[in-house]
């Protein structure tokens, strides 16, 4: 809400200036009708009277400037007080609503009562903020109640934020606890199923072995999902730990690409990794100082795995290159692409695309959010580029070298 002085103030001050400007003409009229023969000397008086009128007109312009530029802006958290003092003095200050101690309103005299304006004074408890005073405020009682409402709303909002924050922390703890428990059960189940499927418990009938193998695959997917949730929970709690050690990013990416190549081949996708050999004299290096396990599993693997999942047909191209002290890894696919709307929430928690669950129903929506946090924890950046849906996408990671 923007508050200016009441229009009566402007009309009163401007009117007074204009009347003052016209008074000499009244005298001139009286003099010209006087019976003493002054008419011959009125020409210089007319010049002076017009000069006076011009000065009064300039005063009107200055009154309008002060009226228009003296403003209070009331928001839900602050009052911004803008004072235009003269021509070259402008004061802008902020008064926080949570520091307001007392608001007093005064309406005096016939004019203020009839036109409903007056003065308002706000006392603040903050030692760094000055009290605020506004003369000629329209409907001051309403402004007072509005400010009080905003204060009440602000206090309520602060309380709700605290409750929400506590609830969120409790939920994060619960997710963490449940995640660990579920992971523990799934790991035990995976172990038992692996023992059956891989024949550690002796020979079992072929259908049982196949069923155990299939169940083992699903259980491992479950473990991956729970790991994603746990990593997301760690990142949200701010307890994401990064253990930095120098490692060869090219070797790490190559190993993942080799591991995931069968998945791409099963879908009939072209799958190529281009990594230039760096001549020793070039001074470039693929050695990163970072948490290899997290970058490999949550970033590089995630991007390649996503490219395979979201590309029904076509090809995937990966490039790793250096640019000075930056290692750049790109994964380009010819898959479903990303709409501008999905692009906005791509790297947020649970940031599924509108149609992504149809292509990849197992997605938790945490993968890219975790990847972003890990990359940023290494001082790097990650982003995606896509013209639109159906045109494929490119995911790019840039990380500083060791």
């Amino acid at each position: 809400m923007t508050v200016r002085k009441h229009w009566v103030i402007l009309a009163r001050d401007s009117g007074a200036a204009i009347v003052a400007g016209l008074i000499p003409f009244l005298f001139m009229g009286l003099l010209s009708n006087a019976p003493y023969g002054f008419a011959a000397d009125l020409s210089i008086l007319r010049v002076i009277a017009l000069l006076w009128l011009l000065v009064c007109w300039m005063v009107v312009a200055m009154i309008w400037t002060a009226y228009y530029l003296d403003v209070w802006i009331v928001t839900d958290k602050h009052i911004y007080i803008i004072d235009q003092i003269g021509l070259f003095n402008r004061k802008v200050r902020t008064l926080s609503l949570d520091h307001v101690e007392e608001i007093s309103v005064r309406t005096e005299g016939f004019l203020q009562t009839y036109f409903d304006f007056g003065s308002i004074e706000i006392h603040t408890a903050s030692p760094t903020e000055e009290n605020a005073h506004f003369e000629g405020m329209p409907n001051p009682a309403y402004v007072r109640s509005l400010v009080l409402d905003q204060i009440e709303h602000f206090v309520k909002l602060e309380k709700e934020n605290q409750v929400l924050s506590t609830t969120t922390k409790d939920q994060e703890k619960l997710i963490h606890l449940v995640g660990h428990e579920v992971k523990s059960y799934l790991t035990k189940s995976a172990g038992a199923l692996a023992a059956i499927a891989e024949g550690d418990l002796g020979s079992v009938p072929q259908p049982v072995q196949q069923m155990a193998g299939s169940a083992l695959q699903e259980t491992r997917k479950g473990v991956d999902t729970v790991m994603d949730l746990l990593q997301g929970s760690d990142a949200a709690k701010g307890t994401l730990t990064i253990e930095k050690k120098p490692f060869d990013a090219k070797a790490s990416i190559l190993a993942i690409a080799q591991a995931l190549k069968p998945n791409a081949a099963a879908k009939g996708l072209g799958f190529n990794l281009f990594a230039g050999d760096l001549p020793a004299q070039a001074g470039g290096t693929y050695i990163l100082n970072g948490d290899e396990a997290k970058l490999r599993d949550q970033v590089f693997r995630n991007l390649i795995d996503n490219a395979i999942r979201y590309t029904p047909s076509g090809s995937i191209r990966m490039d790793i290159m250096t640019n000075g002290r930056i290692i750049r890894f790109e994964v380009k696919d010819s898959g479903v692409g990303i709409t501008p709307a999905d692009m906005q929430k791509l790297f947020t928690e649970g940031g599924h695309g509108a149609n992504s669950t149809a292509v990849n129903p197992e997605s938790t929506g945490f993968g890219l959010s975790i990847a972003k946090q890990i990359v940023e924890a290494h001082g790097g950046r990650i982003w995606a580029e896509s013209a639109s849906a159906g045109t494929g996408a490119t995911f790019i990671v840039e990380l500083p070298t060791a």
């Binding site: 923007t2 020409s43 210089i44 007319r46 010049v47 002076i48 017009l50 000069l51 009128l53 011009l54 007109w57 300039m58 009107v60 312009a61 200055m62 309008w64 400037t65 228009y68 530029l69 403003v71 803008i82 235009q84 021509l87 402008r90």
Partner: protein
């Protein structure tokens, strides 16, 4: 002789007043419109203010010019 000196001084004073007023209104106009365009939240209010101020000054200066010319 004395009357001629006074009648020569008045037009000179009149022209000095006119050009002084012209310079003052122009300078104040520049300063005020700078404030209006820089700080006003509504650009059309700044434009309206500038037009009104300029129109008022033009009318008063035109009357002043006529009055000064009448002194000669």
């Amino acid at each position: 002789m004395e009357s001629n000196a006074v009648s020569g001084f008045l037009p000179l004073l009149g022209w000095a007043i006119f050009f002084g007023a012209l310079a003052l209104s122009f300078a104040l106009g520049i300063i005020l419109s700078f404030h209006w365009f820089k700080y006003a939240m509504n650009p059309s209010a700044a434009m309206t203010g500038t037009i009104l101020y300029s129109a008022g000054c033009v009318i008063i200066l035109a009357l002043l010019l006529g009055a000064v010319a009448g002194l000669s």
